[in-house]
């Protein structure tokens, strides 16, 4: 994962190494305990609140703040924050607040969708490999290794480059780019999750309670979903949380290299990219999307940190 391209945004590392984690369960419910512990983690709570607020703001904001995102007005180009433009305006005189709110929707959506893609893929591969073992495990792990050995950034850029057109043709520019970016980030990031889940499955499937389930005739799918999966889920949740942040960051980096969303789709990354030449002329153009990215990622990471502590079943508070 964190192998190629030091600009790769991949704070998944801490989790990837925590392969062996199986510990005895407690009498109280796992999720109840976790929630109790999570609430005590003040920074994590603050992070969760911030992120909720951001998401809500971006979802509801454009309905309340009804300034168009693309109205050009050279008379007010690069004007600093004011009552008319609370976040100022950009070089074309477009309202920054409207663009930041609108862009947030896309950026956050990219983050979540990419996370869901990679987690789904990873859990699927990891669960099948870990549960069935043998040849299936071998083949799946070879494929995982192969994907891990891909020079990720090279591949990422190439795929975006290659499939950008067919996909945008079929789905339209916005949706197409969205699907592409989400797909690429997802496809190149599922491997650590797969390894985590596989390791978890290998450890848990031999435990007595699974043995018991098997002996009373529970089918393999039900064994996997009902009995094993919940026990290996906590590192996956943490990894997933952090990958939301990674995806948001990766989207902005792609935008910087010119492979991201088209210019009329103001994602946070795109806004920041557009602002870079105006840093000394109109710093507010970079400031607000920059703060948004930073806040979003910071809050997600704190949540992930809190979850990590909260979901650790060895903790007793």
């Amino acid at each position: 994962m964190a192998s190629t391209g030091s600009d790769r945004v991949a704070p998944l590392g801490p989790i990837a190494a925590r392969l062996a984690f199986e510990r005895p369960r407690h009498a109280r419910t796992l999720w109840g305990d976790a929630w109790r512990r999570f609430r005590r983690h003040r920074l994590a709570m603050a992070g969760a609140a911030t992120f909720l607020l951001l998401t809500l703001g971006c979802l509801v904001g454009p309905f309340v703040y009804r300034v168009p995102i693309n109205a050009i007005d050279f008379g007010h180009s690069m004007s600093p924050p004011s009552a008319a433009h609370p976040f100022g305006s950009n070089d074309l005189g477009q309202d920054m607040l409207a663009r930041v709110l609108y862009g947030g929707r896309i950026s956050i959506a990219v983050g979540f969708s990419a996370m869901l893609t990679s987690i789904t893929l990873g859990v699927l591969v990891g669960a099948v490999a870990g549960f069935f073992g043998g040849h299936i495990d071998n083949v799946l792990m070879r494929i995982t290794d192969m994907f891990l050995s891909f020079p990720a950034l090279v591949l990422l850029l190439l795929i975006v480059y290659l499939f950008h057109d067919p996909i945008t043709h079929r789905l339209g520019t916005q949706v197409g780019t969205f699907v592409l970016i989400v797909g690429v980030i997802g496809i190149l990031n599922w491997m650590p999750t797969a390894r985590l889940v596989r390791a978890g499955f290998l450890a848990v499937k031999e435990k007595e309670f699974v043995e018991a389930a098997r002996s009373v005739g529970v089918g393999p799918v039900k064994q996997m979903v009902r009995h094993i999966l919940p026990n290996v889920l906590s590192p996956v949740i943490v990894a997933g949380t952090l990958s939301v942040a990674a995806a948001i960051l990766l989207e902005s980096t792609l935008s910087f290299l010119g492979y991201g969303f088209p210019p009329d789709v103001p994602t946070w990354g795109r806004l920041l990219f557009d602002a870079q030449n105006y840093l000394d002329l109109a710093p507010h153009m970079a400031l607000f999307p920059g703060i948004m990215i930073c806040l979003a990622i910071l809050s997600i990471n704190y949540v992930g940190d809190g979850l990590r502590d909260a979901l650790d079943p060895t903790r007793v508070f």
Binding site: S6, P14, F150, P151, L158, L249, I297
Partner: protein
């Protein structure tokens, strides 16, 4: 052990062949054209451009191109760059020293910052130091490198005029040589150390709660000794492996940072080759990176095995 390494190496070969096929297909199918820069030049008619493409063998079917490439690759001929027609190996060798120096020092700085900070914030979990370090780390990797890079240029080059922001390999005097590396190294080190700090911290926390640490304390060992002799040693095992796994990054370079500071490393070569559809160069970079990843994965596993006696190779 030797048998294990040998087996791993043998299984790596089919993986690498598959990777080379996949990468070749993607690179070759990519819709670019090495001569796109001449398209709007009315003095260079399209038939001239088509003729040059023919000279480069770009009009042959894909499997044939792959076989030709693989054949010459095995004997060490990595082809010629389409743009300058210089051997790819020479082009890479021109770029590599810069990367080793800039990215290498950034990694080194990152490690030197991350280990002490990570250890402190683990030992004093939830203390003020920990909160500050955590916040610093999170901010470090919440900011895209292109943003921190440009911010630094505005502050240190444009406003304060302290540092040059264009990396020039022709600078030979030691002061200038160091000065021009400060900003790219700082940007990269900030980013790297941020995630590494978190990694060290969590690796330490994993060990602090374990039974052998409790035993060590119970023996009456001093806290500092427990940390240094027991926890740190064991916690560093995964850290060392992570660092080994990140080493191919020194080869692929840091695309964004190199772009911003015009560091002539392999990352900027990658981007320009991508833009110019310079297939032989792209292939070489991608494939060497893949080989390095596979090899260093092996190295990481071996390190893990040597440092951690619990792991046995079957």
């Amino acid at each position: 052990m030797t048998k294990y390494i040998l087996r791993r190496l043998l299984t790596a070969i089919p993986t690498l062949i598959l990777i080379s096929m996949a990468v070749f297909a993607i690179v070759a199918l990519a819709p670019g054209d090495p001569l796109a820069g001449l398209a709007t030049n009315p003095d260079v008619p399209p038939e001239v451009r088509l003729n040059i493409l023919h000279q480069m063998g770009l009009d042959q079917p894909l499997p044939i191109r792959y076989l030709k490439w693989a054949e010459s690759w095995v004997v060490g001929n990595w082809g010629y760059s389409f743009g300058s027609h210089i051997p790819v190996t020479r082009l890479l060798m021109q770029r590599l020293p810069t990367d080793l120096w800039v990215i290498g020092s950034a990694y080194l700085c990152a490690v030197l910052i991350a280990i002490p900070v990570g250890v402190i914030s683990a030992v004093r979990q939830y203390s003020l130091q920990d909160q500050v370090a955590t916040t610093f780390a999170f901010i470090g990797y919440s900011l895209p490198t292109f943003f921190t890079g440009i911010l630094m240029i505005i502050i240190f080059s444009v406003r304060l005029r302290w540092l040059p922001f264009i990396y020039n390999v022709q600078v030979h005097d030691p002061v200038g040589f160091l000065k021009q590396a400060i900003m790219p190294v700082a940007v990269l080190a900030l980013f790297q150390s941020a995630s590494l700090t978190r990694f060290v911290r969590s690796s330490m926390l994993d060990n602090v709660g374990l039974d052998y640490v409790r035993t060590a304390r119970a023996k009456g060992l001093a806290q500092s000794r427990v940390i240094r002799r027991h926890v740190l040693r064991n916690s560093l095992i995964p850290v060392v492996t992570l660092i080994a796994l990140q080493l191919p990054g020194v080869f692929t370079g840091a695309v964004v940072t190199e772009q911003i500071f015009r560091v002539p490393g392999i990352g900027s070569l990658l981007i320009s080759s991508l833009q110019n559809s310079d297939t032989p160069v792209l292939m070489a970079i991608a494939f060497v990176a893949a080989i390095l990843v596979v090899l260093l994965n092996l190295v990481a596993d071996v390190i893990y095995g040597t440092l951690d006696p619990r792991i046995r190779y079957g």
